[in-house]
């Protein structure tokens, strides 16, 4: 399936792409369009205001993907919380790693020639975060 999002990916979209490939659609292809551009018809949009897989109820798009696909892995919920705290304005903050992961993802986009490369490099970052949180939960 084709998935579409706006250019210049950051923590939420890099995380979404990782989650989509890992748990939702291993053959996913990603299309990046300019902010505000018309959505292609044959692609599922994510992290674009107003679409199904975007921010809802103060939660990030990653959270929307986890919830819609009924993923119950607590590590994914924890990652959703980290992205919530990095990407949205939260009054309650419980995840100190949120700022660090945000910084790394912004940096990833800066050193990547394009969005596709940024989400590819982002996989190792999110794999690492997942592994570390899994170890902590045991």
């Amino acid at each position: 399936m084709r998935w579409v999002t706006w250019e210049n990916v950051g923590i939420d979209r890099i995380g979404c792409a990782w989650l989509i490939l890992r748990d939702i659609d291993p053959l996913a292809e990603f299309v990046f369009i300019p902010r505000g551009a018309a959505l292609p018809r044959d692609a599922e949009p994510f992290d674009i205001p107003g679409v199904r897989f975007s921010h809802h109820g103060g939660h990030c798009s990653f959270h929307a993907l986890v919830e819609y696909h009924k993923l119950t892995d607590p590590i994914l919920l924890r990652i959703a919380r980290i992205i919530d705290e990095a990407d949205t304005v939260q009054i309650v903050k419980l995840e100190p790693s949120a700022c660090g992961l945000d910084l790394i993802c912004e940096g990833l986009r800066l050193i990547s020639p394009d969005d596709q490369s940024a989400i590819e490099s982002g996989k190792i970052v999110y794999d690492a975060v997942y592994a570390r949180l899994l170890q902590e939960s045991r």
Partner: protein, 145 residues
């Protein structure tokens, strides 16, 4: 000084009041300023654009209406006054941290946490912020100060 701003104008149903308070608290946390009780303004950065965009989406979800603009300021009675309205409250907070640092029973962990919160709203990289950071590091003691 040429500077780009983001303007958010919104309307939200009076009831439930929780929705109104929720949005207002988020605006405060971002350090947004209400201009003439009409538009909320933030300096434009990729981060503030993202934050305002999602807040606008949340307002829509709360059955409100939101409009978000990028704006060039082309006239102001005092060109620097808008910048100062962001700088002044931030510097007041830094001064409070500096004053608390002089206290006997200062809570360094709480003050550092507060410093981080203020940093988010310090859109113009205040010199006082740099000084506060130095003082906090020095107060922490040890070789890395």
């Amino acid at each position: 000084m040429v500077r780009q701003w983001l303007l958010l104008v919104y309307k939200i149903p009076r009831e439930p009041t929780s929705g109104r308070v929720y949005v207002w608290r988020k605006l405060k946390q971002l350090g947004a300023i209400a201009l003439q009780d009409a538009a909320w303004v933030l300096p434009q950065t990729s981060r503030t654009q993202e934050q305002f965009q999602w807040l606008a989406a949340e307002i829509t979800e709360l059955r409100g209406e939101a409009l978000l603009w990028e704006a060039d300021q082309i006239y102001a009675t005092d060109p620097d006054s808008l910048r100062l309205r962001f700088v002044e409250p931030v510097e007041a907070e830094y001064r409070e941290i500096l004053a608390a640092l002089k206290g006997k029973d200062r809570d360094l962990a709480a003050l550092s946490k507060r410093f981080q919160d203020v940093q988010v709203r310090d859109y113009f990289a205040s010199e006082l912020g740099r000084q506060t950071r130095k003082k906090l590091l020095a107060a922490g003691g040890g070789a890395c100060s």
